[in-house]
Subunit: 161 residues, 2 copies
Amino acid sequence: MRTTEVLFEPGRQDIVVTRTFAAPPDVVFAAMTDPELIPRWWGSRRFETTVEVMDVRRGGLWRFVTRQRSGAGTPYTFWGVYHDVVPGSLIVSTLQFEMGGPGHLQLVTDSFEATGDGGTLYTNVSLFQSVEDRDGWIPTDMESGIRDSLDLLDGVIGVTR
Amino acid sequence: MRTTEVLFEPGRQDIVVTRTFAAPPDVVFAAMTDPELIPRWWGSRRFETTVEVMDVRRGGLWRFVTRQRSGAGTPYTFWGVYHDVVPGSLIVSTLQFEMGGPGHLQLVTDSFEATGDGGTLYTNVSLFQSVEDRDGWIPTDMESGIRDSLDLLDGVIGVTR
């Protein structure tokens, strides 16, 4: 059973998520960067995600709209920019919740490392503008959302490889 | 005499720069975001800066090329994206050295606060991807470059207000 680790270290301003997948880095990277597949895993089962733009290259924009599947279906928009894209290995990008006030920007580093058994160790570091900004996310259901999203991605990878 | 404070706290992953200007926030903000004025202060006296693009609005790109005035004149390109732009008050953007390897991305928060005497307290927080990444900048002449650039900006503001 592959599990997702979500690490919040006290006093730090980042959240570190790790997860192993049974497919090699190029396959995991390809699945995560495919706009067609995003609605199948990004945002967890609770949200329906639409990709407005996803231009995975240096300087390219991404912009996703999510709606809660139950309830009012208010749209929540997230967007950012790709700063580094190294196929099969690394993505450095930004993530911002568009309707929030200014700030609350995250700098996200996704890395993909081959494991000895042909799998991938995926690490996601989300760096927040301050410790307070990060700590504001901890009481939310972000952690269960991450676990659920990566479980969904695991299923998507199982199908596509 | 207005001075620039540059603060590197041990173990943190940011650099905090503060400086007061004798002009109000809207004037300082307007000077800093004017592409025509960038070559007169950005990058310090040691470098000649050319603005390739500077689209100061959410999602807009900026890209500057600098060349050392003495020596070989090798071009160094810096670029990033504006995430928040609140006129007279706040800019949140990214900054990356284009020719470096991946990573080394900075998340930059510029804030402009009115002081009681009609001036501005300018604060610049540069957040790095790690403490190590930040610490790599400390032995460089970055600090003197910041002081020199903000002194030049002070002169530019003195002329334009």
